[in-house]
Structures are given as C-alpha cells and as structure tokens.
C-alpha cells in the first residue's frame, strides 16, 4: 500500500501525526530553527541558508505550510514566512502532557 489509514484514527491523532510528520525531516527542523532565530519575518534568504536546491527548499516550505507549522504572506518580490504559534503550541502541549504523565507513573519495567 503506502497510504495511511487515517480514517481509523481520531482527528486529534491525525493532526498531531501530520504536524510531527512535517517536522520529521532535518531540513524542515533547520527551517524552523532558522525562523525562530531571526527577529523579523521577512525571510527571503531561507534558500541560501540551506544546503539544498531552491525547488527542494520550496517544497519543504510548502509541506510545513500545509501542516500549519508556518505561515506565509507575499512581501513584494520575497515571501514572508513565519512560525505559526498556534500549531506549535499544540505540539508543545502534547509533549508536555506526555512527559508530565510519565513522571507520575511508578511502574517502569523496561
């Protein structure tokens, strides 16, 4: 096959998975870290920052955008990309919830 059986899982599970999947590539982690490091949102130099060809970077940006991780708006010739706090806070809450609950578990057999 090759297609996930998304219909068998909850919307929340599919949403978390889609966002995690989008972050599941080192180039896209690098993009996220770069967007976090710059103070302004005018990010027309993302292509120069990554060791990948321009179409490849454009494709990675598209995937991050589709997953809601970043937002983009036209800013003249360049495109302005920024992180989407809403999406990232969902992931933050997910992992914070997990780590808190793991600590509360006394059984740890593995």
């Amino acid at each position: 096959m090759g297609a996930s059986k998304t219909e068998h899982f909850s919307d929340k599970q599919n949403q978390i998975a889609a966002m995690a999947k989008a972050i599941g590539h080192p180039a896209r982690v690098a993009i996220i870290e770069y967007l976090l490091s710059v103070d302004t949102c005018i990010c027309g130099d993302i292509v120069n920052v990554l060791p990948l060809a321009q179409p490849t970077v454009s494709q990675h940006l598209k995937e991050l955008k589709n997953a809601g991780i970043i937002k983009g708006s036209i800013e003249g010739t360049a495109i302005c990309y920024c992180l989407n706090p809403d999406a990232l806070s969902v992931l933050d809450a997910f992992f914070a919830h997990i780590t808190v609950h793991i600590k509360n578990k006394n059984t740890n057999c593995c």
Copy 2:
C-alpha cells in the same frame, strides 16, 4: 531520489527529525497515547487496540523503538513495551523552547 541528505544537518537536527518522523503516523500516535494510558508496562494487547493487522502494528512498534521513543523487553510470551522518558523529554524541551521564543518575538507580520 528519496533519501534525506542527513549529512548536511547537525546531529541534533537529525535526532529531532528522526523522532518527529517516528511520531508522524496516527497509528504511532495512538500507540504512544495507549502506552501512556495504561498503568503497567505489560502491554501485550497493543495489537487488539489498533485497527491494523498484527504485522503492521509490529512494524510500527519497531519504528518507534528504532527512534528511541519506546523501549521493549521480553516478558514471557508477551513483549513489554513502555515509553522512553528520555526521548520524549528531548522533544518536550524542543517544542517548549520554540513556544517560549515565539512569545518573546514582537514582530509578527504573517
């Protein structure tokens, strides 16, 4: 191609990406949530919990284990699987760091 150019990115970026990728499937999100919900680590019923065939579940468990998200040990006929707090705390720290830094940014043009 189809192979990520991991050598161009930092170990940290590759580690985050590998773990995020492992969580980037709704069945694996469901597995994580199930492991979090049960009190004991003896988890021989994961197959029955998911709407997927046994070999598929086994494959998903293997990927989570390879990424370090879960740990497993033999427990008689069954296999004992648990979440790995170390790996999950790395992801927790990553996303907590991002959300904190986003809040500190005053520019938000998108």
